[in-house]
Symmetry: C4
Subunit: 181 residues, 4 copies
């Protein structure tokens, strides 16, 4: 999936991709009960796996702190989490300090207005195609994918393409022959 050409340099600088959870890695729906039964997408899981291969870090930053988010993050071996955080700007700054990264090395993907502080604390902001209109007006990158349909995959792919690492991470799947051209 192509990324916006004018963002190439900024995407190439990214070392951590931070994601809001509901409406971004899910379609924004929640079941009841303690577990909350979010539904995740395998396309995101594959994207995060490719990211790990080249040292691109993945973080979660959500206003909610539920057992199923932690379980999913553990299964995917995600690098950093800030859950139950309403102060997303502060959460992002903590993550950057912890990893010794500059704001321009982070991209934050959110779907609603409360993600804006997090987006501004990072150097770059992205939002799913079905994010709140007021947020879409204020982000650098309007994604083609809707929440829960592979938003994480699209962001990772864009970053790795801008960094020139996409072809090498997919080489094992594409095969040697095709790599030649």
């Amino acid at each position: 999936m192509p990324y916006p050409e004018h963002l190439r340099d900024r995407l190439a600088a990214v070392r951590i991709a931070i994601f809001d959870v509901d409406g971004v890695l899910t379609d924004g729906t929640l079941g009841g009960g303690a577990a909350h039964s979010r539904r995740w997408n395998v396309k995101d899981g594959f994207g995060f796996k490719l990211a790990r291969k080249v040292g691109l870090r993945i973080g979660l930053c959500s206003g909610n702190d539920h057992a199923d988010i932690r379980e999913r993050a553990e299964r995917l071996k995600l690098d950093v989490m800030r859950l139950g955080r309403l102060d997303k700007d502060q959460a992002v700054r903590e993550i950057l300090a912890e990893l010794k990264l500059e704001p321009e090395q982070a991209i934050f993907t959110g779907d609603d207005l409360f993600d804006l502080p997090g987006i501004r604390a990072a150097g770059l902001g992205a939002a799913p195609a079905d994010a709140a209109p007021e947020l879409l007006e204020r982000v650098d990158w309007r994604l083609q994918t809707c929440g829960g349909r592979g938003v994480g995959r699209e962001v990772i792919e864009g970053v790795l393409q801008a960094r020139g690492e996409w072809r090498s991470v997919i080489a094992p799947f594409i095969g040697d022959m095709e790599q030649g051209d």
Copy 2:
């Protein structure tokens, strides 16, 4: 999301937003079992939170009375509930009496014909984009959002915009700089 300009004065008078549940705050599907596993949308939860900031009350009025509705209402700290009520007109009148409000201070959002009495007991009626056609013909406000995709958020946002309170409730997210313009 914009609201219909001709409804501005009536929306500005609203002090309580009452919602049917199934097909409005959910997509109208139900799992089996006692819990019924409705799926809610985080966008609505965020809208209700913004409403509370400025004292706009939120009510639920459903023909069903299930554990998962009560659980969700409690988590969101909603103000009033009338569950298991087939006489939605009477339920709305009770709510208005309890809160000492006039009909023109209430908006009722429903998705099917059995919501019409509730809508008529309130001063204003809204319906999701995928509501029953016969209901859509009879409401003041046809929403852009489908049931379960953020209907509550769209209603709250419209009311707060008409009341001129939207910019202030989102100020903490938008930031001071932008508030200047």
Copy 3:
């Protein structure tokens, strides 16, 4: 929702509406486990309730026989069930004999080819908008609704409209004033 005008007389003769379950009253997806966690639509529940008011009977006829189907049928107080039946023509004939009805008094709604024998044993056949193309070619009534989005409601509404009973069943919701016109 309008029904096909040329089917008016045949729809007006209907005394029982028989429905396949998966892909008709649900979107055709099944979770795992014993319960199978089908997701039903409240619009269908409302339609069945309106049908009961005027003595239009409702039946279920499915190749599957799972606990969650029985639970839903019980909750909705449906009149007849034939579950775990691969011989849908025979199942329909049993239902007709039991209720002392003629084939032309039944409509069968299914979504795939194995429903055709049931449809042919009934006098009239309907299929959701997303049914198997080979079935859609062979039914009298191609519905506007997709499986699980209110198929039962559309069928009931069409039958009651053709029988001239729709206005009276919705009168309690529409209100007296409007009934005058």
Copy 4:
């Protein structure tokens, strides 16, 4: 549903249809917990049943190995499974050796790049309409169906049509009369 005419001979040679699971037989979403609560489609179940009638084998090949996949495979009496396999090319070769089949007798359906090795080890590749764009560019057959909406059914139907066996497997449903023409 029609298959691409130019693939007729290759489809007619197929003796086993191998499917990736997530995003192919499901819409790619996963719930949390041990069971993972995938949602399957009854249209696929019907397709697999028709395949069995004429000895067309069905296989599953997934990078995941979860209880709900095994449960579903058992219920559908599928012929072969290779779960928890990241080396899909090797998995396909094992299946072919086990069943004494040549690569040109297999079709592999996947939705993302990690399915490519499996697709290349089989003689023919298919992908759902909403597969990763990079995969869609590299498969022989771009399906009309999205993941979880009946992908298995579309593949089976295409193979049986190309083999000239479709009319006979659906004869019991279509009826004798129609078979005459």
